[in-house]
Symmetry: C2
Subunit: 394 residues, 2 copies
């Protein structure tokens, strides 16, 4: 195959990113969309075809003379391993290069068992899934992992994660690369859920906030089409913002009065127990609401208002056009979102709310694992990788 | 001059943006940094030279044979008009293509006089400054304007601005283009201050928040190196976030308990009057603090804590590495910032504050006008414009 010079890498990757939407294009269309010379396009199309990443898909509309050939992404050329590791459940999937999940396994796995146990489960499950669909380990282009706590994205290491004993500063990519020698991207589960939610339901929306309400509360922020991680990777961490009703309610972070200490599934369950109801978990709260228990409905509505208080500040700061509420507590339906809307539409400025939609997550429980796949694909196909890892070894 | 095809525009502009740092480069270095072919670079360097935007600057280090020629930005090739229109004062400047202010005029101009009066002042002042330094109107490449209220950036129209009667949805770019037929960029003064602060003091920082504390309170957010405006241009609007101490304090926005109603210069002056002191404005508050008045110092410190409450939420959401506090109230010095730090470092999570600097603005009162120039330059030199407006008419 032709050598790829250092200077050309960016553009080869750029060409591939363009084709990622799956739409077939002719060489002339690619030249027009990239501004590259036709001769350059011809060389690069040839290269991507030899790598198996794009394939010819019949003929384009002829403009007279020889009909121009069209090319499109070959989604099956490579796979990514996508994992959503939650507090008590874990999901691992194989996705194709469009981000579509091909096969998936979900099991009760407690993150508190520590990195060796949990990551071993991930690696073994991924191998089992590869065998299940008859693909080789060498087909894996990258691994994307979501974790239920703060992650320093640049290193892939969890940082003081409150519910993940044994994981603090653990080199997750280093461990995983001993099993799959490919790029390993690690981020917190809410960031990747934002990527997943956008891919599933809001493809054309450039300013989206995904809010996860479950055992904890967090958010993933997409601004100008890009996931925002901030300087250390902790952007979107709304669970530990103080709320008016917070008082001295103790939080797992060591502070008091945090949103999470008031409005998470765990916190709502605690408040219902104090009211004499039998609610051990967020899941019990959902069941009570679904049975029409008025106390539970009121508690969920109030949690929505607390969340709305922080989201109102978020709307002022970020001015998103969509806020999607997901996580296990979103299963209570409109009661939670009604509380959020009540406060957001009361407190935020007209320009910020005029076209703001506050909605239930469409991707639901699948948001994180789909997003982990998207994360892996986007980074696996970055310039350096297209010209090295993704090149066929033959 | 050579024709610029539609496909080449982006790259010509890209080449120019690369040279904007002022560092001289050879054709070979440009080829290496852009990934473009040497022949392409040669054509484009030639084009930018004919447009006067870059000039030869002596010879690069020879690697044997003919010494390679170097090129650099010609900052004086064109000018931009930069304006900071405040509530009661206005500044207009002419800046070169690096953003350096060449000449400037500042006068008491009340924004409440409405767009015709204020923009006429701007246009006449810009013409007078051009005459003063002997440059022609045709040298103006773009106009950048900062306004003290919400602006829909895509249209350049103010949107429900609370202190700007007569400006709501006024077509500022349309009005201004009848005087200067060039791109006119309009944004709120705090967004452009963030651009100015970064250009002056934090060139290498990609996550910066500029907070203006004056008659009102607002912020400009730079994430991943880009100014964040949100879906409608209202991102950073922290002045109307509700704070714990807010109660039913009435705000100009129509809501109650907003940060601005508690911690702006106007609000602090009101609280000092209620305590029996003679403080009519934020400026009086600054004077009292500088004279060592304990009540004023305590009020400013408390305002810092209120601002810190909202900035603590901002740190959780955005994870910046620098928060720069500017605006007229920042002249009180450390008392305000001490209050901010007190709350931010108490409330925010370790990963977010480990490398966070909360500092006084370096650019100070000049932040906005410098930023208006940067805004104009960045957009004036966008692809479309490089190939049209910036082409010499000869």
């Amino acid at each position: 195959m032709p050598e790829i010079s250092a200077d050309d890498r960016g553009s080869v990757s750029g060409l591939f990113q363009l084709l990622r939407d799956g739409a077939p294009r002719t060489r002339a269309e690619l030249a027009k969309q990239t501004g590259l010379a036709r001769s350059t396009i011809a060389t690069r199309v040839d290269m991507l075809m030899r790598m198996g990443l794009i394939v010819p898909v019949g003929d384009g509309v002829s403009t007279g003379g020889r009909p121009p050939s069209q090319f499109a992404l070959n989604p099956a050329a490579r796979l990514v391993v996508a994992a959503d590791l939650g507090a008590s459940h874990a999901t691992v999937a194989l996705s194709d290069l469009t981000g579509a999940v091909l096969v998936e396994r979900a099991e009760p796995v407690a993150i508190a068992q520590g990195p060796d146990v949990v990551l071993s489960w991930l690696a073994e499950s991924a191998r089992a899934l590869l065998a299940e669909i008859g693909r080789a380990e060498s087909d894996v282009a990258a691994v994307g992992i979501g974790l239920p706590g703060p992650v320093e994205f640049s290193t892939g290491r969890p940082f003081n994660p409150p519910i993940m004993p044994g994981w603090d500063r653990f080199d997750v990519p280093g461990w995983m690369r001993e099993h799959f020698d490919v790029p390993v991207l690690v981020d917190n589960d809410v960031n990747i859920s934002a990527l997943g939610e956008r891919a599933v339901a809001w493809h054309d929306v450039d300013h989206l906030m995904f809010v996860k309400v479950a055992t904890g509360i967090g958010s993933g922020i997409i601004s100008d089409g890009h996931l925002q991680r901030g300087s250390r990777g902790s952007a979107g961490d709304i669970g530990h913002v103080r709320v008016a009703r917070g008082g001295d309610a103790p939080c797992t972070c060591g502070n008091t009065g945090c949103l999470e200490a008031l409005a998470s599934g765990t916190a709502i369950a605690r408040s219902l127990r104090e009211a004499g109801l039998d609610a051990q978990s967020g899941s019990d709260v959902v069941d009570l609401v679904k049975r029409g228990d008025l106390t539970a409905i009121q508690a969920v509505r109030q949690a929505g208002r607390d969340i709305g208080e922080v989201l109102s500040a978020s709307v002022s700061l970020l001015n998103p056009s969509v806020i999607a509420i997901g996580g296990s507590m979103a299963r209570v339906g409109e009661h939670l979102i009604a509380g959020v809307r009540e406060v957001v539409y009361t407190r935020s400025m007209p320009l910020a709310t005029e076209r703001l939609a506050v909605v239930q997550s469409t991707a639901g429980a699948e948001a994180a694992v789909i997003g982990a796949g998207i994360l892996a694909i986007e980074h696996a196909l970055s310039p350096r990788v297209v010209s090295t890892s993704l090149a066929p070894t033959a």
